[in-house]
C-alpha cells in the first residue's frame, strides 16, 4: 500500500513541529508492516491514526513525555489500540505531550516543546499538543489524545481542528496511563467532525478490563442533519465573562447566530458553580495523580537513578530526577490534600463541589436544554514560555473545559473562526452518553461556520 509510505514521508517531514516521539526509521518500518497486516474489511482500513504517548502500544515505546519512562516498552496494548487495529487503522507513531498529560501547552515534555503548526512562536495547547499539531498540519486525518481537564479540546481549539472528549465510561481506559482516573478519558482529534467521530465510534464500547467503562454498544454515528430545528442550545453566562477575548466573543456570537439560522432555539442559562471548577479540579486531579504516579519508583521498570544508595535514596533520586517540575508540583499538591488533617478541608470538599458542578448541568438539561455552547478556551494560542512561570495562569487556560471532565459529560471543540491567523474553538457540551446529539449539532455547525475566516 503506497499510503503507508506517503504517511511515513509526511510524518518525517513534520519534524520541525517536534510532535512525534517515534524515531522515523522505526515508524516507516512499522507502518509498512502494519499496512501489510491490516484488515481490508475494517471501517478504518488504511487510515493512519497518531497516538498520544500515554496510551500503551505494542508497536512503539510509551514514555508519557517523561524521562521516568524513557525507552519503556509496554508488554500489552490499550483496548482502544486493539479496536483501532481491528478496524484496519494504522498506528502512526506516538505523539509528544506534556509529561503524564499534565499541562496545557505541551511545553512540559521531557522531549522538548511542540511547535504550533501555524506560528512557531506559539504553543499548540496541551497536553495532547503533538496529536493536535499533526492533525492540524495535515499529516494524519485523525489522532488519539487523552483528556483529564481539556487536554484534547484545548489543543484542538488552539490548532484549529476538531477534538472530542467522550462521556466518562464511553471509551475503555485500559492501557491509558492514568493521571486522574476519575476524570481521564481517551479523546479523538480529526480534521473534520466526521473523521474524529468515526474514530471515536471504533474505540468506544464495553470492555471488561475497565470497571469504569459502561456496558454499552459502540457509539453509532448520526447522519448530518438538514437543520437544527428542535435543538435547544443553552449559553451558560459564566462562560462569557466580560474579560473574554473580544475575538473569541465575536467568533462565538457568529456561531450562535448561525445555529439560530439553522433553526436552533438558543437560551441563556446559568451554571452557578463554574467559578469553583478550576480549584476543584486542581485538588482532585493532583490527588489521584499523586497515587497513580507512585508506581514510578525505579524498582521494576524505567530508568533507575543513583541505584547504589539505600531504598529511600533510590526513590528520591529516581522520582526527583525522573519527573519534571509540573509533575512534581502536582504530586506534592496531591499528597498534601490527601494527608491526614487536610483531607476533609480539601479532598472531601472538592468532591462535594464536584457533585454540585455536575448537578448544575443536570439542572439545565432537566429544563429542556439539549446542549450547551461555549468558547473552548478564553483566548487563542499563547506564546511559548508565556505562562511557564505562572502555573495559575496556565491552569486558567482550562477554565471552560474542566467542567465537562468533572461532570463526566461529552464535549466537542470545533474551529469557529480565526483571529490574526490563529484558530478559535467553539465547544458543545452534551448530555451523558448522548454523543450522537452532540455530534449532530457539530456536523450542522461545521457545515456553515467559516472556520478559517477572521471573526
Amino acid at each position: 500500500m503506497s499510503d503507508a509510505k506517503a504517511v511515513a514521508d509526511r510524518l518525517v517531514k513534520a519534524k520541525r513541529l517536534n510532535a512525534l516521539l517515534t524515531p522515523p526509521k522505526d515508524l516507516r518500518k512499522s507502518l509498512l508492516a502494519q499496512a501489510a497486516a491490516a484488515r481490508p474489511t475494517g471501517v478504518l482500513y488504511g487510515m493512519p491514526v497518531a497516538v498520544k504517548d500515554n496510551i500503551c502500544t505494542l508497536e512503539f515505546t510509551t514514555t508519557c513525555g517523561s524521562k521516568i519512562l524513557e525507552g519503556y516498552q509496554s508488554p500489552y496494548e490499550a483496548t482502544a489500540i486493539t479496536k483501532l487495529k481491528a478496524a484496519g487503522a494504522l498506528i502512526a507513531g506516538k505523539t509528544n505531550c506534556d509529561e503524564f498529560a499534565m499541562g496545557s501547552s505541551t511545553e512540559y515534555s521531557a522531549y522538548g516543546r511542540v511547535v504550533h503548526p501555524l506560528d512557531k512562536t506559539r504553543v499548540p495547547g496541551g497536553s495532547s499538543g503533538g496529536s493536535a499539531a499533526l492533525v492540524a498540519a495535515g499529516v494524519v486525518p485523525a489522532a488519539l489524545g487523552s483528556e483529564t481537564g481539556g487536554s484534547v479540546r484545548q489543543p484542538a481549539a488552539f490548532c484549529g481542528v476538531v477534538g472530542i472528549k467522550p462521556t466518562y465510561g464511553r471509551v475503555s481506559r485500559y492501557g491509558l496511563v492514568a493521571f486522574g482516573s476519575s476524570l481521564d478519558q481517551i479523546g479523538v482529534f480529526g480534521r473534520s467532525v466526521h473523521d474524529a467521530a468515526r474514530v471515536l465510534s471504533v474505540i468506544s464500547g464495553r470492555d471488561p478490563r475497565d470497571a469504569t467503562c459502561e456496558d454499552r454498544d459502540p457509539l453509532r454515528l448520526p447522519t448530518v442533519p438538514e437543520s437544527l430545528q428542535g435543538f435547544v442550545i443553552g449559553l451558560p453566562r459564566e462562560y462569557f465573562p466580560p474579560e473574554l477575548d473580544p475575538a473569541v466573543r465575536r467568533a462565538c456570537d457568529r456561531a450562535i447566530r448561525m445555529m439560530k439560522e439553522l433553526g436552533a432555539a438558543v437560551r441563556e442559562v446559568s451554571l452557578p458553580h463554574t467559578p469553583y471548577a478550576v480549584p476543584t479540579y486542581y485538588v482532585i486531579a493532583p490527588a489521584e495523580a499523586s497515587s497513580n504516579l507512585a508506581r514510578y519508583d525505579g524498582v521494576r521498570y524505567g530508568p533507575r537513578f543513583d541505584g547504589n544508595t539505600d531504598l529511600r535514596g533510590l526513590y528520591r533520586a529516581t522520582r526527583g530526577q525522573g519527573f519534571g517540575p509540573e509533575v512534581r508540583r502536582r504530586i506534592l499538591v496531591g499528597t498534601y490534600v490527601l494527608s491526614a488533617g487536610y483531607y476533609d478541608a480539601y479532598y472531601r470538599r472538592a468532591q462535594q463541589m464536584r457533585a454540585l458542578i455536575a448537578q448544575d448541568f443536570r439542572n439545565v438539561f432537566d429544563r429542556g436544554v439539549d446542549l450547551l455552547f461555549t468558547p473552548t478556551v478564553p483566548s487563542p494560542a499563547f506564546k511559548a514560555g508565556e505562562k511557564l512561570s505562572d502555573p495559575i495562569a496556565m491552569y486558567m487556560s482550562d477554565i471552560f473545559t474542566v467542567t465537562a471532565n468533572l461532570a463526566g459529560l461529552p464535549a466537542i471543540s470545533l474551529p469557529i473562526g480565526r483571529v490574526k491567523g490563529l484558530p478559535i474553538g467553539g465547544q458543545l457540551i452534551g448530555q451523558a452518553f448522548l454523543e450522537d446529539e452532540m455530534l449532530e449539532a457539530a456536523y450542522a455547525l461545521e457545515r456553515v461556520v467559516p472556520a478559517t475566516d477572521d471573526a
Binding site: 499523586s290 497515587s291 521494576r300 490527601l338
Partner: protein, 478 residues
C-alpha cells in the same frame, strides 16, 4: 497489684480462590518467583483492576458466618505507601465503608468459659508481594506472585483478656473459616496472618490504656508466647514507673522477645481515598442470600445437633464438630453403622490418633469403619481384634472382613473350642480358682482376660465368660 491484659486481634486471611483479587493470575502457592504475574498485578502503566466475584462471594460468606451486617454498598479505597513489594505504590483495600461490620465470634475461653468477642469489621483487600531479604548478599529480591492475592481482614474488638484467650479466639476463628472452606488458614504459608493490639490495665479498670501492635507472629505456636512477652514487658515497664508508648513491636521467635519496629519502617500516613478505578461494590440481596445458602452448618450448630440427635457427650461433640472433615466423617459412619455412640468412640480414639500421625488424613474410609463396627456388634470381632483390623486397613487398605480373616482374627464362637481354652486357663491358675470359689468373684475379669490371651484374641468374650461361670460354679474339676 494484679493486672488485666486487653487484646484485640487483626487477622488477615487469604481467600481460597483460583485467581487473584483484581486479575486472572493464579494464586497457587510455591510457584517460581514472578511467574504468576500480569500487567495488572505488576502495576504496569495503564493497567486497571477488575474485582474477582468469587473472592467477594467468599468474603460475604465469612462475614455472614461471623454474624456481621453485610453492607449492600461498600467502597474500595487506596492505601498509599511506598515499598518495593507493593507494585502500584498503593494497596487496594477498603477503609471507611467496609464490606461488613459488627459481628461476633463465640469461643471458649480457658479462663472465662464462653465468651462473645466483637468483630468490629471485615473488609476485602489485595495482598502485597514478598520481599526476600536473605536470599542475595547484595540486596533485596521481590517476588510478586503473591501481589494481588485476595484477602479479608477481620478486625476483632479489644475483648480478649489473656494471651491464652487470644489463642483460643484465633483457633475458633481458624476452625470457622476452614469450615466455611473460604481459606486454607495455614499460618506457615502465610494464608492466615495475625497482628495483635495489646495493652494492660489494673484489675477493675474499664478504660483502655495505650496499646502496642505486635507483628511478625508467624506461627500458631507463637501467638500465646508473643503476647505473653509483650504483656510482661508492658507490666514491668509500668511497674517501674514508665509508660507504654504507642508503637509497633516485632516478635522474634528465636529470642522469644519483642523489639520496636524502627521508626523508618512505620508511622505512615496512608492517605486513603476512594479507588477511582473501581465503582462502589454493590451487593444485591439475591447475591447475599445466595451466599447465605452456601454456608455450611457451623461448628456450634453442629455440636448442638450431635448432642441432641446422636446423644454424644458435649466433650465428644465439641471435638468432633470442630473440624469439618472429622464431623462429616463421623456423621457418615454414624449413619451407615447405625451405631452413633460406637462411631463417636472410634473417631475420638483410633481415627483421630491415626490422623494425627498421618498429616490429618482420615485413612480408613467411613464405609470400612462402619463395617468394622458392624463386625464388633455382630460378635465377629472382639474390640481388641477390631483395633488391629483398623490399623491394618489404615496402613494397607482393604476390606475389613477379609483383612480380619487373613489375620486370623475372626472371633471363635464354637463352645467346644472355647471350653478347651477355658479348661486350659483354669488348670493353669489353680490358686485364683480357689480364691474365686471362696467368693472373690471379681477375678472373673482376670479369667476372661486369660482366655482371650490364650485364644490370641479370637475367643468370643461373652461366650468365654459364660463357659467360665459354668465351670467355676461346678465343684472342683474332677
Amino acid at each position: 497489684m494484679s493486672w488485666e491484659t486487653v487484646i484485640g486481634l487483626e487477622t488477615h486471611v487469604q481467600l481460597r480462590t483460583k485467581s487473584k483479587m483484581f486479575c486472572g493470575c493464579s494464586t497457587a502457592f510455591g510457584a517460581p518467583p514472578n511467574t504468576q504475574v500480569c500487567p495488572i498485578c505488576l502495576g504496569l502503566p495503564g493497567a486497571l483492576p477488575s474485582a474477582n466475584g468469587a473472592a467477594i462471594g467468599l468474603a460475604v460468606r465469612g462475614a455472614l458466618a461471623l454474624g456481621c451486617t453485610v453492607h449492600p454498598r461498600s467502597i474500595f479505597a487506596r492505601k498509599n505507601y511506598f515499598y518495593p513489594d507493593l507494585p502500584k505504590g498503593y494497596q487496594i483495600s477498603q477503609f471507611d465503608q467496609p464490606l461488613a461490620t459488627n459481628g461476633t465470634l463465640a469461643f471458649n475461653s480457658p479462663e472465662r468459659g464462653s465468651v462473645n468477642a466483637t468483630i468490629v469489621r471485615l473488609h476485602l483487600e489485595e495482598d502485597a508481594g514478598k520481599s526476600i531479604h536473605d536470599r542475595f548478599a547484595k540486596g533485596t529480591a521481590v517476588d510478586l506472585n503473591r501481589a494481588g492475592v485476595p484477602l479479608i481482614e477481620i478486625v476483632g474488638g479489644p475483648d480478649l483478656r489473656s494471651p491464652a484467650e487470644a489463642r483460643a479466639y484465633l483457633l475458633t476463628l481458624k476452625q470457622l473459616l476452614e469450615y466455611l472452606g473460604i481459606s486454607d488458614c495455614d499460618m506457615e504459608k502465610g494464608s492466615l496472618r495475625v497482628d495483635a493490639n495489646v495493652s494492660v490495665r489494673r484489675a477493675g479498670e474499664s478504660s483502655l490504656n495505650t496499646r502496642t501492635e505486635v507483628k511478625n507472629i508467624n506461627s500458631f505456636a507463637f501467638v500465646e508466647k508473643a503476647l505473653t512477652v509483650e504483656r510482661d514487658r508492658q507490666i514491668a515497664l509500668v511497674e517501674s514507673g514508665g509508660s507504654v508508648t504507642q508503637q509497633t513491636m516485632l516478635y522474634d521467635a528465636k529470642e522469644n522477645g519483642v523489639r520496636p519496629q524502627r521508626s523508618k519502617e512505620e508511622s505512615h500516613d496512608y492517605r486513603y481515598f476512594p479507588e477511582p478505578d473501581l465503582p462502589p461494590l454493590v451487593l444485591s440481596p439475591e447475591f447475599v442470600a445466595e451466599q447465605q445458602g452456601e454456608l455450611p452448618e457451623l461448628p456450634a450448630q453442629k455440636r448442638e445437633r450431635f448432642v441432641a440427635s446422636y446423644g454424644l457427650s458435649r466433650e465428644h461433640a465439641t471435638v468432633i464438630a470442630s473440624t469439618r472433615a472429622v464431623a462429616d466423617y463421623f456423621e457418615t459412619v454414624a449413619k451407615t453403622s447405625a451405631e452413633p455412640q460406637a462411631a463417636a468412640n472410634w473417631v475420638m480414639t483410633e481415627a483421630l490418633a491415626d490422623a494425627k500421625d498421618h498429616d490429618d488424613q482420615l485413612r480408613v474410609s467411613p464405609a470400612a469403619l462402619s463395617q468394622i463396627i458392624g463386625l464388633v456388634k455382630g460378635g465377629t470381632l472382639s474390640n481388641q481384634a477390631a483395633k488391629r483390623v483398623f490399623a491394618e486397613v489404615a496402613a494397607k487398605s482393604g476390606d475389613p472382613r477379609s483383612v480380619a480373616e487373613s489375620l486370623g482374627l475372626i472371633q471363635v464362637a464354637d463352645a467346644n473350642v472355647v471350653t478347651g481354652w477355658v479348661t486350659d486357663v483354669l488348670g493353669a491358675h489353680a490358686p485364683e480358682v480357689g480364691r474365686y470359689r471362696k467368693g472373690e468373684t471379681k477375678l472373673m475379669a482376670f479369667f476372661v482376660g486369660q482366655v482371650m490371651r490364650a485364644s490370641k484374641g479370637k475367643a468370643d468374650p461373652k461366650l468365654a465368660q459364660r463357659v467360665l461361670e459354668e465351670k467355676l460354679a461346678s465343684p472342683s474339676p474332677s
